[in-house]
Subunit: 316 residues, 2 copies
């Protein structure tokens, strides 16, 4: 069996089709075919992860597969879309059946959680690079865009941002994992939870804008502010600083919450004065307000978001 037959076989044997997703024609022809129900829009996004730039090449292949799909599905969550199907373009330096089987299993675990099906792909010989194209459906005209925030809106973030970035020294092998808290952080890096249900709920309940936090809360919030033509005031004592983060990062915890990326939580804006129903399907924290002046304030002082560097090439 040649290299690419092996890869095909591994991907065919791994369950990469979600229940309930209808695809007219999947892998094996020149194109796949899908039908989009009338009145729907298709939300689509593409992301590339390069080994030793976006993840350590020697990481657990199951986790690499899981995380590769999760970070793309997170873009669908940020629009409020229902995941439908995805494409995988994989460049590999060689073919290692054990690695590929584990990678495909990680991909499949995330695919099952997100209810998304692999419908096309391409495998090439080259440096380890993973490109995922995802698509999901939305009721027409209802997408959660970055541009909808208005002065007075409340600003929220889900979960506990900052934890994934606090894991980097452990992910990079600069520090060894000793405590349960340190292990928890590495799980947050490798197994982010795309906030699919939250995104859909926000569409349904009238949130005004949303983004997923991949480059850090303050920086990603600024994308909303720029697209919406306004500013924000945040309050440090409202920011969710988890106990785990305090334990591992001490005095650096708050700056991880504001600047750490790789969490894939949702940051969103909510209409001023509107009561948030109690059935919101994730823990969310009100961290500030949208203001008219196009600036970002923290406790009343101008705050300049640091740019977040994802996993940086070792040796550089």
């Amino acid at each position: 069996m040649d290299e690419f037959s092996l890869i095909r076989t591994i991907f065919q044997q791994t369950q990469l089709t979600a229940a309930g997703v209808h695809v007219d024609l999947g892998i094996g022809d020149d194109c796949s075919l899908i039908s989009v129900p009338g009145g729907c829009q298709l939300a689509q996004s593409i992301d590339t992860l390069v080994a030793d730039v976006h993840f350590p090449a020697d990481g657990d292949p199951f986790m690499i597969g899981y995380r590769s799909l999760a970070v793309s599905v997170s873009d669908l969550a940020a629009m409020g879309a229902t995941p439908h199907s995805f494409f995988l373009a994989l460049s590999l330096p060689g073919s290692d059946a054990v690695w590929l089987t584990s990678f495909a299993s990680g991909l499949a675990a995330m695919a099952r959680k997100a209810g998304i099906s692999l419908i096309g792909g391409d495998t090439t010989r080259g440096p380890l690079t993973i490109t995922v194209h995802v698509q999901g459906t939305l009721p027409k005209g209802r997408a959660l865009m970055r541009s909808g925030a208005k002065p007075g809106d409340e600003i929220y973030v889900s979960g506990s941002p900052g934890e994934a970035s606090a894991a980097l020294p452990f992910i990079l092998g600069e520090k060894a994992v000793h405590t349960a808290s340190e292990r928890r952080l590495t799980e947050r890096y490798w197994q982010p939870t795309p906030r699919i249900a939250l995104g859909q709920w926000l569409v349904e309940h009238g949130a005004t804008a949303a983004i997923d936090v991949s480059d850090g809360l303050s920086g990603d919030l600024c994308h909303i502010l720029r697209a919406s033509g306004c500013g924000a005031e945040l309050f440090s004592d409202s920011l969710p600083v988890s106990d785990v983060l305090k334990e591992v990062c001490g005095g650096q915890a708050l700056s991880k919450v504001l600047g750490g990326g790789d969490d894939y939580e949702l940051c969103f804006t909510w209409p001023a004065g509107k009561i948030m129903p109690a059935d919101v399907p994730a823990s969310v924290h009100r961290i500030g307000f949208v203001i008219e002046t196009e600036t970002l304030l923290l406790d009343g002082q101008p705050y300049r978001p640091e740019s977040y560097n994802h996993f940086i090439q070792r040796g550089s």
Copy 2:
């Protein structure tokens, strides 16, 4: 201006949006949004080109851009789809404004020809790798698939296959280009013509199966035969051997026609006994017939397609 701002600026300044393609939301949010008209299917494909595997890294960046999009659009042509939009995931070792501007211009030239618009992308730091995801629309249930060939059907190929692969020694710099014919071959490699109008015409006029010739005519025909559960008989004196190919390749010309890839012509099957209307929008050649026995015959003898190696890593 940082590296990625530069890249964004170059791509924004280059006209990468085709006239007449409607996109609800393009680049700049978490996802793009499109609506698919009722009664339509979306045909989609993804392809990766790795530098020094699928094209020489030191090639003309305009040509690299042009060809990257052309080879993906060719998959849409092979289904009979109308090109709609595409995503570009680009990994770059660094940012060279001259290279990027030329690459984007090549991409734009092909986008204009194909009537397709860039609606999303991702740029990462890494070894030069180009992934393109394309999508097009089709009247529901009308796609040209590989599985529709029936015994008795006529087999056709468009254009003059073999020319692109005959260009490889010139593309690789192993031979210098001296003659007009040699130049013509290198153009065929760098600027393939996706057979969009032919694919649509074949859908309209009832062709039974189609594939685009990327890995060689005989090998790609075998994909149709396997998917359709039948065989084929080809006739060597019916195969289109161009004068240019004869001039440059001499006695090797026929084997280039049968085994050379990278041409992106269409190979298709046509119902037995059905007259082909004269308005077919490309030159096409009848090269044989589909037979019941699952084998490939050339002039009555079993023929085993060689596997075609695209541009192979230099030094390996």
